[in-house]
Amino acid sequence: MLTRSPVGVKTTIPPFPEAPKGLESIAYDAANEKGTGENLQLFTGADKQVRAAEPGQALPSGDYDVVGARGAVSCNGEKTYYFEVVARDGSGRRGVLPGCMLGPSSTPPSALLVAKWDAVPTFDAKRRVDPPEDPQALGFVDAGALGSDPSVVGVRVVDERTLEIEAEFPTPYILDTLSHATSYPVRRDIIEPFEAKGEPDMWTRPESIVTNGPYEIDAWKFRYEIRMRRNPHHRHHDKLKIHNIVWMCVESYVSSMNLYKSGELDYIGDNGSLPPPYKPVLRERKDYKAAPYLGTYWYEFNTKVKPLDDVRVRKALNLALDKAQLTEKVTRGGERAATHVVPPFMGGGYSEHVEALKAKDADLFATPEYSFNPELARELLGQAGYKVVLDPKDGYRAEGMPAIELLYNTSEGHRALAVAIQAMWKNHLGVAVQLRNEEWHVMLKNVRDRNFQVVRFGWIADYDHPQTFMDTFMAKSPNNRTGWSSTAFESLIHKARRTADTTESMKLYREAEKILADEVPKLPLYFYAKSTLVKPHVKGFFFNRRNEQLVHWMWIDEDWKVEKPNEPAFPPETFPAPGAF
């Protein structure tokens, strides 16, 4: 069978030679110099089509149908939210629309943008129906009501440049949610003619699409490359130091690394991670960049089947795993062992809260009760009725414990992890584990049919707030496949997300997390990290925890051998006041 990397065998990996003396980067060879000047060649994984980490440049991928501006910028720790708008009527007017215009704005340029779901021209207060008490995910729009009665949606166009979003309750992370691709504004006047023609997806083609980021599409060779050039309407277009971008869609990592090494790529994009077998070698290099990434890799239990319906069994399985070993020996990409669900570097006040707890040595999830603890695990399993006995020959054996089946989608990385975990459960608990791997779609079907015991999943944050993780544990969440639910947990979450005070709110989130750690519907394994290679002549490259690297900050340093600070191409502006342009 084909795995993701067709050349995943060790012998075929081209060695990364040692850096020649006097050069900063192995991959940079003066004889083979490319990528200098105004062109930056970038790489992006092909399976996601393209994910340009650029406001307004996201193209429809298999996952999303919406295109438009976006506004979460984390550069130098500074955060701004805005939508960018460009008049395509030739007037050259351009402007900035704050992501969530809760206040009035000055006179707008006409008919520039607007979200696809502004099907609600006016907001009829009289017809307003209070949303049900249990909105699923975002807390401010009831997605289900969209189709049936648009007037109940708490979103309205106040005027042509102002979008009003009415929240049911103070939602601290509402700005963050707007940086998600699903809230990008798109041009109705572009889309609707296509819809009328019965080709509702065709507006995304380069000749039709209108985007409002600093770069616009020049050419799109499907699943091969996307070429971009500066958007002349962008307010910073004359400040951009990179004039053209080539996003290569490279199928295999071996190819992309070779392209990088031979100088055809300046940067191995932001999509995915470098393959684990390379990491120990690459980690030592100066052009290797890695950063934590807002995601958690976990195993989900089917809590409706024996013996996993017993919380003591689930907890025992959790405590019997030496997760630090997994990240150091198996994944090897700077991931961090997870004893709870929300990555400690999560925004929305969470990371500060965790830091404060750590400083006081009060991080509950660092205690032996939640960390790797095989003795406690064996004790718990014994309490559940599966006494763990030590056989001098075979090691531990959990008496009466049936074998557990671990399901994962076919992939080398998932398999390696599953094998390691299988060994740990056997060694520390004497629990037999059968591995079952299935191709992705088959696995999804089986999981939906609850035809599994333990299954490999994970969650990548949709926005920079703990809520995005907590949602997946709500009883009604489509992402909760465990069969587990808890009213205590849900009422804590309801309370937490209505709490305007950050510290208070985070405290509640941590309390909710404790319920998850005690009941273990999902077994967190590690917090993600992302890694990539960036040529040393690429300056203005900034990592962030959402793995969004903005090209408009980047520039090519022709004189890169002289060490200098990594600065953006032009000074980041602070968020302009509404209408101030």
Partner: protein, 307 residues
């Protein structure tokens, strides 16, 4: 002759029809669907998708519509994974690339393999023969996914003669074509050698010798045609093998060919794309086999086409 070619091509149609039917039904029977994602899709969305791709209709109705569309307008339906692409568009983008790669590879394979095999046969049991056949053995036993990185390592990453990957200029063609061609060339060399040996030992070559013809004339005029017949009959399935082999080559050299959809469309449950790909591959295979039949007629006057 022309009548034969036309008739031969017409026989493809029912076979192709069977292949299409088979694939069309089979992909739909396999577990999982094109729109399975990790989160449960709301019922309305699912209904809308099913309506758009007509998945709620009975298979027979879907099949009828698909077939009518394919025959009347040449439309193979929208891809279910790449929502804004039609199957014929995806194939139209990638097939020429794969064909270019495949045809070049076949050309190179024949150009390398046939002379090597002839050399081996003519110089049978000499060191030249041994070297040629050892090379052929090596070529057959080294899989492309080993060969390709080696080629890249030497010619692209060490010598900087050729690009490591991608599909831009003729220079980008060299390594993938060689990589695709070598195993086939090796096989052809063995076939050519065996074929030539048989012919060289045959009575009519002895007759040619008895006429006083020179070795060169004997080989080129008398032995080559018959000796190459095994090679020619291999080219049909060989071309199919190349197309399947291009899956690996295209992936390693990052060539935007059709190979990627061969397995991927099945994994993605992209029903329409799978059926379209099967149709194209099946058609190519059958056409190349028909081409072999025609070539046979040209080479061997004893072959009766009108049977």
């Amino acid at each position: 002759m022309l009548a034969f070619i036309v008739r031969r091509l017409l026989t493809i149609i029912p076979t192709l029809f069977l292949v299409a039917t088979f694939v069309f039904v089979l992909v739909r029977l396999a577990p999982g669907g094109p729109f399975d994602t990790e989160r449960e899709v709301p019922a309305e969305v699912k209904a809308a998708l099913d309506a758009k791709f007509r998945l709620s209709d009975p298979i027979s109705v879907q099949y009828k519509d698909w077939l009518v569309g394919a025959v009347t307008t040449g439309s193979l339906g929208p891809s279910m994974k790449y929502h804004n692409r039609t199957v014929e568009e995806l194939i139209g983008m990638t097939l020429p690339v794969s064909m270019e790669l495949g045809l070049w590879a076949m050309l190179v394979a024949v150009a390398i393999g046939a002379p090597l095999g002839v050399l081996g046969a003519v110089r049978q049991n000499t060191w030249k023969d041994s070297v040629a056949m050892a090379a052929a053995m090596l070529g057959i036993s080294v899989p492309r996914f080993v060969l390709a990185p080696l080629l890249v390592l030497v010619f692209a990453l060490k010598l900087y003669w050729l690009p490591v990957a991608r599909w831009e200029s003729w220079r980008h063609l060299v390594l993938p074509v060689i990589c695709a061609a070598l195993p086939m060339a090796a096989y052809i060399a063995r076939l050519a050698r065996a074929g030539m040996l048989e012919v060289i030992r045959s009575d009519f070559v002895r007759t040619a010798r008895a006429k006083g013809l020179s070795e060169r004339v004997i080989i080129t005029r008398h032995a080559l045609k018959g000796g190459m017949l095994p090679v020619v009959s291999f080219l049909g399935p060989g071309f199919a093998g190349l197309l399947v082999g291009s899956l690996v080559v295209e992936k390693i050299f990052d060539i935007p060919g059709m190979g990627r959809y061969l397995v991927e469309s099945v994994l993605n449950k992209d029903y329409n794309l799978t059926a379209g790909i099967a149709l194209v591959y099946g058609g190519l295979l059958m056409v190349s086999n028909a081409a072999v039949d025609v070539a046979y007629k040209f080479l061997d006057p004893r072959v009766e086409l009108d049977r």
